[in-house]
């Protein structure tokens, strides 16, 4: 069967088997490999993407369940060469080391700020329960999310002056 969805603003349609996972659709059928697979029990969150704006684990969703959905992966976050404020914050706060959990971590953080524009440290740590990082000890990730949230706020309120 075919699955058609909007991936990072582009309509894509690919044939899939019913058992094809959404992460397999994205990585193997479309060829966007920024979405990673770090476990097989829905724990690690490396495969986190946004489906209709909400963070989900793309390893725990069938491609057919995303029929017609708006899907954002890490490749869809930057505007051209300009990083999304959350990506930029991870860069500036050294919120990544090996980079493997990073796509899922960034997208999870973006979803957090959609719900909570100015999260506290505790709220960030709790929100990131579904994303495991083995490199950073999370200290800089938390810093990055706070900075990214502030930058997203500035970006969303800063454009309306003229």
């Amino acid at each position: 069967m075919d699955v058609a969805l909007t991936l990072n603003g582009r309509r894509v349609k690919r044939p899939v088997e019913p058992e094809t996972l959404l992460v397999e659709f994205i990585r193997e059928r479309v060829g966007l490999t920024g979405t990673h697979i770090g476990c097989d029990t829905s724990q690690c969150g490396a495969c986190t993407i946004l489906v209709n704006g909400q963070s989900v684990k793309s390893c725990t969703m069938l491609a057919v369940e995303a029929e017609g959905a708006m899907v954002t992966t890490i490749e869809g976050l930057a505007k051209g060469n300009v990083l999304h404020p959350m990506q930029q914050a991870f860069h500036e706060e050294h919120g990544l080391q090996c980079g493997f959990c990073t796509p899922g971590m960034v997208l999870s953080a973006v979803d957090l700020v959609q719900h909570n524009p100015a999260p506290s440290e505790g709220e960030i740590r709790h929100w990131l329960e579904g994303n495991i990082c083995r490199c950073t000890g999370y200290t800089n990730i938390v810093r990055a999310v706070r900075a990214g949230a502030a930058a997203m706020q500035r970006a969303s309120t800063g454009g309306g002056n003229d």
């Binding site: 489906v51 963070s55 725990t60 929100w127 579904g130």
Partner: protein, 265 residues
């Protein structure tokens, strides 16, 4: 995963017919338990019948003195619902503590209870509030619903459609999570409401259950101190890598007292 067929019915009748239309077909709701099970090749359904396209299946509404939550309502929606947070904040808090954010964005009420995972949170909420489970053919009191390890009173082709939660005067849920999986090692839901005083436990036994002697003690006085003389027997409780039955029995007492304290706070 092994191969299977996939159906996306538009009505409950169609879903029921599809489910009955072949061997080993399974319903798919949020998929947060089912898909990991299939990925590990622990189940081999021939087809999945996806309920998510059925209209009106994911609504939350207020009816007289109950909150009615559609079976396909996601945990995140319950947690964020103004109606639920206003009427039964303990239930919203319970939903907001299931799994993690991503799981809550997919997992559903109906899927969770139909699975009757011994460590799931919702069963404690349903038992602890005296909820009623509505299906495509009948209403089942929560007290009769959870029958065993991953077993419920549902017929093989029966579909949960909604759950009726009586609005309590006061209620709270406290869980002690497995540090790895974040499932409940033990979770206790207490309430004082139209269904009486209820104390329900999840995570500790083969399925969620109530503690009648705790309830009787609380009927005399709804205060943590009422539970002080009571202990829980470890007999029949789960023992696993993370917690012995003895520890779980102890935790139930601690969590129950904390839940009461939270409910009256």
């Amino acid at each position: 995963m092994h191969s299977f067929s996939y159906f996306r019915p538009a009505s409950i009748t169609e879903a029921t017919n599809l489910l009955a239309g072949g061997e080993d077909r399974k319903l798919l709701a949020g998929g947060q338990t089912l898909l990991p099970t299939l990925k590990q090749r622990l189940a081999h359904p021939t087809a999945l019948v996806d309920l998510k396209s059925i209209p009106g299946f994911a609504t939350i509404r207020h009816e007289a003195d109950v909150v009615v939550i559609g079976a396909l309502t996601r945990h995140a929606e319950v947690a964020a619902s103004e109606l639920v947070t206003g009427a039964i904040p303990a239930l919203a808090k319970l939903a907001g503590g299931i799994g993690d954010v991503q799981v809550r964005n997919r997992g559903t009420l109906g899927g969770s209870i139909a699975n009757s995972d011994p460590a799931a949170d919702y069963p404690a909420g349903l038992l602890g509030l005296g909820a009623t489970i509505g299906t495509d053919r009948r209403a089942i009191p929560a007290d009769d619903f959870f029958t065993g390890l991953f077993e419920t009173a549902l017929q093989p082709d029966e579909i949960v459609t909604q759950v009726y939660f009586p609005i309590p005067k006061r209620a709270a849920y406290v869980k002690f999570a497995n540090q790895a999986s974040r499932y409940a090692i033990a979770g206790v839901f207490v309430s004082d409401g139209p269904a009486g005083i209820r104390v329900a436990v999840t995570g500790a036994g083969p399925h969620a259950f109530r503690l009648p002697d705790f309830e009787r003690a609380l009927e005399r006085s709804f205060a943590p101190a009422s539970l002080a003389p009571l202990t829980v027997s470890p007999d029949g409780l789960n023992t696993d890598l993370h917690a012995s039955a003895e520890y779980r029995a102890h935790l139930i007492g601690v969590l129950a007292r904390r839940a009461i304290a939270a409910a009256i706070a």
